[in-house]
């Protein structure tokens, strides 16, 4: 939702209310009748909710895993794909052995609407539902915004693809199974400087967005230390006219266009870059590893290279099983963006689920506190590689970044050699 317009409207309502409130008092008398009826209605509604609440009874052999992901807003597309990975893992392995008893895993899903001010509410929903451990979120901003609620609630969270360092920094309840932006930014800067041979890069981030702003910062840091030059700009929320930014990039003589923004803005950038004949490589981070980008780039005159967590084809068994599962249901297919391309976030979501199960097994308990303890020493071999956490912030120890190039004729990704950093 566009917070800005909402505020404007609220201000107007408030102002008018102030102006006319004096005239209201006169009308109160005749409205008494209506008000009584209204209170009766509200009371009966409240009663209804109470009854509804009484129906569900806690089953002792159920362990709940919260899914803290956006299903709408800027990052809705990516959030849905990550959730699909978790759901698929849950479909493959619906139970977990805790001590001697077998528990059924129930997923509790809350939509954080890609919005920092909705994150806390979604987090509270998950805690109140009794989640033992929470997975998510896609998008670093919402993860940071929801973090405090999880800390107070004492529930451990496993970040799946939120790459901003601040998510886990200085806390003991937020963990993460992916690489971080300083690492990704460095790899991208090296790639732009060494492989693409660029000396001047145009960077575009969204104003006030923790993910794109952070990644651009780390990129700039590395790129300038290599001896390159950058032109860095930001665009405000709700902007859909990128023509001037593209013109800026062209006019300033840049050789690479780096814009690790949300997929929603990416669609527009790709479209306008093509129609304005941008004429330089577009470089982006893990967010762009989505079929939304492929669909937007298909048949267009663009050259897109991205870094990501998992290349399709790295684990054929997982790929084919997931494709079969997605194609079996129309809702799943539309949540995956209308086709069965596997995005890296789906594979990461899949691994996150098994990582959580392993932690529950290690803890031999469904208590959030015990799981939080156990997470520090949990290790698994996932489809995206071996996952183990370092002991300071609880971040994954990863040294491989996969690089992909969008093929605009077939509408698929071409894998480029992966970058391994020691």
């Amino acid at each position: 939702m566009n917070a800005f317009t909402r505020k404007v409207k609220n201000c107007i309502i408030y102002a008018i209310f102030k102006l006319t409130s004096s005239s209201f008092t006169f009308e109160m008398e005749e409205k008494n009748m209506k008000r009584t009826m209204l209170s009766v209605l509200i009371l009966s509604l409240a009663a209804l909710t109470l009854f509804a609440g009484g129906g569900s009874d806690a089953d002792s052999t159920i362990v709940k895993i919260g899914v803290f992901e956006p299903a709408s807003g800027d990052n809705g597309a990516g959030g849905k794909q990550e959730t699909l990975g978790i759901q698929f893992a849950n479909y493959v392995t619906p139970t977990v052995q805790v001590g001697d008893t077998e528990y059924t895993v129930e997923l509790v899903i809350a939509d954080n609407e890609s919005s920092n001010d909705r994150a806390a509410t979604a987090a509270a929903t998950l805690i109140n539902a009794g989640s033992s451990v929470v997975l998510g979120s896609y998008g670093s901003g919402v993860s940071i915004a929801g973090s405090d609620t999880f800390r107070v609630g004492g529930v451990p969270v496993i970040g799946i693809t939120c790459t901003n360092p601040q998510v886990t920094e200085g806390n003991s309840h937020y963990f993460r199974i992916c690489f971080l932006d300083p690492f990704q930014g460095t790899v991208l800067a090296n790639y732009a400087y060494q492989t693409l041979g660029a000396r001047k890069v145009y960077c575009l981030a969204k104003l006030g967005d923790d993910y794109s702003g952070g990644l651009v910062n780390y990129f700039v840091e590395r790129f300038t230390s290599l001896g390159g030059e950058v032109v860095s700009e930001t665009f405000p929320e709700g902007n859909s006219d990128f023509t001037s930014y593209i013109a800026n990039a062209k006019n300033s003589g840049c050789e690479v266009f780096f814009s690790p923004v949300s997929t929603e803005a990416a669609q527009l950038i790709i479209n306008q870059a093509s129609s304005q004949n941008l004429g330089m490589s577009i470089l982006a981070g893990d967010t762009w590893d989505s079929n939304v980008i492929l669909q937007a780039a298909k048949g267009k005159n663009v050259d897109i290279t991205i870094t990501t967590f998992y290349p399709e084809g790295a684990n054929p068994e997982f790929d084919s099983a997931f494709k079969e599962w997605v194609n079996a249901d129309a809702t799943r297919l539309s949540n995956n963006g209308g086709d069965d391309t596997i995005s890296a976030v789906t594979a990461m979501g899949y691994d996150a689920y098994y990582f959580a199960l392993q932690a529950i097994k290690n803890a031999a308990s469904t208590d959030p506190g015990d799981i939080m303890e156990a997470l520090w020493s949990t290790e698994i071999d996932g489809v995206t590689g071996h996952i183990a956490l370092e002991q300071v912030n609880g971040d994954a120890i990863r040294n491989t970044v996969f690089v992909k190039h969008a093929n605009t004729t077939t509408g698929g990704w071409d894998a480029l050699p992966a970058v391994v950093v020691d």
Partner: protein, 303 residues
Amino acid sequence: MEFFHQNLSYFLSGISVGGQYALIAIGYTMVYGILRLINFAHGDVFMCAGLMMVYLSSTLPFTITIPLVLLLTVLLGFVIERVAYMPLRSAPRMSVMISAIGVSYLLQNAALYFTGGLAKVYPEIPFLSNSIVIWDATTRVVTIVTPFLTVVLVILLTLLIKHTKIGMAMRAVSRDFETSQLMGIKINRVISTTFMIGSLLASVASLLYFTNYASVTPTSGAMPGLKAFVAAVFGGIGSIPGAVIGAFIIGICENIIKGGASIFGIPGSGWTTFSDAFTFAFLIVILVVKPTGLFGEKAVDKV
């Protein structure tokens, strides 16, 4: 000349965005002129037109889809007025405005429900979506078509208001609501027509806007709607030429500021970051100097 050549793409996109804002702004300003109502749902009607296009074009050819979308948007505007505003004709003005805000959220949330919260890719309309090169600046045909189409539509609208019976009725109603009712003008018909014209122009604007910025989300009507509203206020709300000129000024200013580093020769990243802030600050300055807007009528106190 060299300066103009170099920065042509900023001016082109400024003029084209200005034209699109103008078409939306007319809807705001006409409704305000007649009902003294700020129709907050207007930006969302624009968004709905975009979504209709996305869904209809997936099964039907463009020759059918485009007229159908125009027709359905007009119908939507008509229905909104009949359902949400007409029953409140004698209510305090604030109630109608709250109702408008309600309709706005209803449309946004209905769109959220239908799209599942994901951005929909707007179809490529043949001809309009083609790329062309003008004096070394590559752009789309729609960018060039927009200002001309806007001017043609505004001229047609002015003719309608000046020279037809319904236009005369509109002018009478906007001058004095109650007296014109006494004179036998069918007020509901006039108001419905106003909403239908506004919606028609909004759907033309959505066609042009989304061809350029090809992604429709439930909130994509919010920002263009707000900017068009600002343009209407800027030009003097209630005045059609004012809204059109205001919209062009806002659209062009916005893009000139975004290209500030290149146009004014002062490098820095602040230009794009604060482009909206500059635009709105400009609005404040104009309103401080001329509170009724550029072409606004002076308020006359009737005794």
